[in-house]
């Protein structure tokens, strides 16, 4: 009995991406630069988050032509973003044959109540979370990979650090609890009890968790890894820097050697200017992306 699109194949692809860097690219040329630099996958989109932020308006799924060009260009996995709750965009991306769908707060949400029922798809999904409860709600809906939400397009790691600490701290608290305390913990997390019980027993999420949102330097990537990330997504941080190919290679090296400060120092030399970045306080609450989704 041969079965495709099982939980093991969905979560398994994310396991193969561990210790690696997934890069946002907006065209085939950038996709090739990313692959050459050692990216483990690319995220195909029309505009990187910093440009989405600058442009305003409604941000949607990318043009299928762009996604097809990128699929045809690289041999590494290709991911693409659908709006939160927009299951038809997800159906379209599945039909295009992408390897992973990111149900992403970087695009304008299409549904303010429901996320996509990800169990209904053959293609696997990655979703963002700010804390353990949110991560478990997404996994319960079928997400086979998680990432932090960071604050995309800012070049500011502060929110991503908050999120990875929050998720991993939440796991440590569950592990320390008595079994009879897990019922209330599940209620307070807003998460299904069976998943809460499983995490308390295993001490880790049942899926891979990457850091995303605001990574702009090799040190940012290594910080994410030392805080317990399984890998990193870099959006605007590469192609909004002065020398994208060089920055991409340096972030890949720092992600592999995340505990080796001498190597991180070496690869950080002379990279040119990283993306300019925005302080979190400079972004009005209504324009923050990480608070989208629930």
């Amino acid at each position: 009995m041969t079965e495709t699109s099982t939980w093991a194949t969905k979560t398994g692809l994310a396991q193969m991406l561990k210790g690696g860097v997934i890069m946002d690219v907006v065209n085939a040329a950038e996709a090739r630069i990313a692959e050459d630099a050692g990216a483990v996958a690319v995220m195909a989109l029309e505009r990187v988050p910093s440009d989405i932020r600058a442009a305003g308006g409604v941000a949607r799924m990318s043009d299928p032509i762009l996604i097809e060009e990128i699929l045809a260009t690289v041999s590494i996995p290709v991911m693409a973003k659908a709006r939160i709750g927009h299951f038809v965009e997800a159906q379209v991306l599945e039909a295009l044959g992408v390897d992973y769908i990111d149900e992403s707060e970087v695009l304008t949400p299409a549904d303010e109540v429901n996320h996509i029922d990800k169990h209904a798809f053959k293609v696997p999904f990655v979703c963002g979370s700010r804390d353990l409860g949110e991560a478990l709600r997404r996994i319960n809906e079928g997400a086979a990979m998680m990432r932090t939400k960071g604050e995309a397009g800012t070049g500011n790691i502060v929110e991503a650090v908050r999120h990875i600490r929050s998720v991993n701290g939440g796991i440590r608290r569950l592990v320390a609890m008595r079994e009879d305390e897990l019922f209330v913990a599940a209620k307070e997390l807003g998460a299904p009890y069976p998943l809460v019980k499983q995490i308390a027993a295993e001490g880790r999420l049942p899926v891979v968790n990457f850091v995303a949102g605001g990574i702009a330097t090799p040190s940012d990537a290594a910080l994410s890894m030392q805080l317990g990330a399984d890998g990193v997504f870099v959006g605007s941080g590469i192609f909004k820097s002065e020398d994208p190919a060089r920055m991409a290679r340096a972030i890949v090296q720092a992600t592999t050697h995340f505990r080796d400060a001498k190597i991180i120092a070496e690869v950080s030399k002379g990279l040119g200017a990283p993306m300019r970045g925005i302080a979190l306080e400079a972004i009005p609450e209504a324009e923050r992306l990480a608070v989208r989704g629930w």
Binding site: T4, A8, G20, P77
Partner: protein
């Protein structure tokens, strides 16, 4: 069950850890009584008596191997006869020839591999596979954007085929390679063969950095 050498010490196995699912191999090896070590730089190879090349993205892995000058010391170790298990991307790294013209990396296994042979992620699958060399119980095999072996040389033993005859596991002396992921299914038998071969390697035979 403990994988110990002649002196009774746990056998040190280097797990290439530049990228990919290396942690799964490390924990499986540890559960079998071995002493796994993550290899990111040449100096991590000191005292290693066997190697695992895990799954991951072979394009990323080949670049990291080149950047940190791991290729020569890995080749020297493999040429000295220490055993190796390559899974998925690890099998691609070991192949003498890669279809499509990619440069081989550690070309000691006399096969030609075809990358992403089943297509994209939607074609990833799991199945039960007969592997007679491992006994009667089938192997539960998880294939993820997997390669296949399109050609085998005369010294290569075929360990497993899919029902359509495509070759997905081989052995050439101390070199074992699978297109699927035993480490994702908790399948220990390939690793046990590796450990049995590694236990025969004298502790000091493995080369450290050169």
């Amino acid at each position: 069950m403990a994988a110990t050498g002649a002196a009774g010490d746990p056998v040190r196995i280097g797990v290439l850890s530049v990228q990919g699912a290396f942690a799964e191999h490390v924990s499986l090896l540890r559960s079998l009584g071995a002493d796994p070590i993550e290899v990111r730089l040449p100096q991590h190879l000191a005292g290693v008596r066997g190697l695992v090349l895990p799954g991951g993205e072979s394009t990323a892995m080949r670049r990291l191997i080149a950047r940190w000058e791991l290729r020569e010391p890995l080749l020297a170790l493999l040429r000295s006869g220490i055993p190796v298990l390559g899974t998925c991307a690890g099998m691609i790294l070991l192949a003498r020839e890669i279809e499509g013209g990619d440069e081989p990396v550690l070309p000691l296994l006399d096969v030609t591999v075809r990358r992403n042979a089943f297509g994209r992620q939607l074609e990833s699958f799991e199945t039960d596979l007969a592997v007679p060399a491992l006994g009667d119980a089938p192997v539960h095999a998880v294939f993820i954007r997997a390669p296949v072996i399109a050609r085998t040389g005369p010294d290569v033993e075929i360990l497993a085929r899919l029902p359509d005859d495509r070759i997905v596991a081989v052995r050439q002396g101390p070199i074992l390679a699978t297109a699927f992921h035993p480490e994702l299914a908790g399948e220990p038998r390939f690793h046990r063969i590796l450990l049995a071969l590694a236990a025969e390697i004298p502790p000091d035979a493995g080369s450290g950095p050169r």
